[in-house]
């Protein structure tokens, strides 16, 4: 059981972020944002049926490496987490653990309709309906498994948001850390 005292996530996570948030956004200069935008490394962790969509993205037809995106194996090295399909309770635990092991700034992109409102599994007893209650999501991609073109468009939008500093999912996670943790506790009666 993960008790409050032994936090997996760093101590300063829980602190009130307002003041810190402004500083972070301003001091996170344009060059750094440009660099982060142009070299997004994604965690190679396909949580649902959308994982297969990544194959055409990485190969010759859509080739997301043009934007500098590269699949990395460990969360420590990456800054983009793709939730590619329906999320049930067990997968959510691993997703949260992976998300917390990723260094800031980190972004979450949710594929398909399942993370938005549960999709076809809206009344299943194990599927999470609104991913945003447990994890800050920067971009949703509609479609019950979106086509590669829409995924490339989503990545493009994400890059623009990063450039303008609007992709602040990781800051929201810090700001409302207790709320997110409370929601997560409600779902898993026993963390493990």
């Amino acid at each position: 059981m993960v008790d409050e005292k032994e936090k997996i996530v760093s101590e300063d996570m829980g602190v009130q972020v307002d003041k810190k948030e402004d500083i972070e956004m301003r001091s996170f200069g344009t060059i750094k944002r440009w660099a982060t935008k142009r070299s997004l490394w994604m965690v190679h962790y396909c949580t649902g049926c959308g994982g297969i969509e990544l194959a055409p993205l990485m190969t010759s037809r859509y080739d997301m490496e043009r934007f500098g995106m590269h699949p990395m194996v460990t969360p420590r090295q990456s800054d983009l987490l793709l939730i590619t399909g329906y999320v049930n309770i067990k997968t959510l635990k691993r997703i949260i653990r992976t998300y917390e092991q990723m260094p800031d700034p980190k972004y979450v992109v949710a594929f398909g309709s399942c993370p938005i409102n549960g999709g076809p599994y809206w009344d299943s007893h194990v599927t999470i309906n609104h991913l945003d209650k447990y994890l800050p999501v920067d971009i949703y991609i509609a479609g019950c498994m979106p086509r590669p073109q829409s995924i490339v468009k989503a990545f493009d939008d994400l890059m623009d948001m990063i450039q303008e500093g609007k992709a602040d999912g990781y800051l929201r996670y810090k700001k409302y850390y207790d709320k997110y943790k409370a929601n997560q506790e409600k779902i898993f009666r026993k963390w493990w």
Partner: protein, 161 residues
């Protein structure tokens, strides 16, 4: 051995109703107490592979139906051995002595439908984690209400003003 020969041989089993569903698939309904013998009989006929144990909730007849999905490699035939047990105290004997794989299927049936299998040592929780409500696959389990009460009750994060 064509389907007709199979149907006749199965019909010879006392108390069995046999129906040829379509090419290569036969349904055989057997009373509950004769289920194990029927299974042995079919296994000797060549149905060596227990594909799955399916479970159906006939809530109106207050009965559970266990369907043993058997397949024979030699003759490429599939047979559904159907058995009906009462819904009040759902209990049945295990088929592990014929097919060891039955343990997992029975474990799932126990968790999802609440059917106890005498003789199965491992009827522990299988897929669901610390599940307190009634087995979810039963028809009287209202998943819509469960989802509303468990998931929809959780507030969105930035709701407050």
């Amino acid at each position: 051995m064509s389907e007709q020969d199979f149907v006749e041989r199965m019909a010879k089993f006392p108390g069995s109703e046999v129906k040829l569903l379509r090419k290569g698939q036969i349904a055989m309904k057997v009373p509950a107490d004769k289920g194990h013998e029927a299974a042995e009989y079919l296994k000797k006929m060549g149905f060596t592979h227990l594909v799955a144990i399916e479970y159906v909730d006939w809530i109106k007849d207050n009965e559970f139906e266990l369907v043993y999905n058997l397949f024979s490699y030699s003759s490429k035939m599939r047979v559904f051995l159907k058995v009906r047990i009462s819904r009040d105290n759902p209990e049945y004997i295990t088929f592990m002595d014929l097919w060891p794989v039955a343990m997992t299927h029975e474990r799932e049936a126990h968790e999802m439908m609440g059917i106890k299998f005498k003789g199965n040592p491992n009827l522990t929780p299988f897929i669901l984690e610390d599940w307190k409500e009634i087995p979810p696959m039963r028809k009287d389990f209202d998943s819509r209400k469960f989802v509303k009460e468990k998931y929809d009750s959780i507030p969105f994060v930035e709701d407050e003003p």
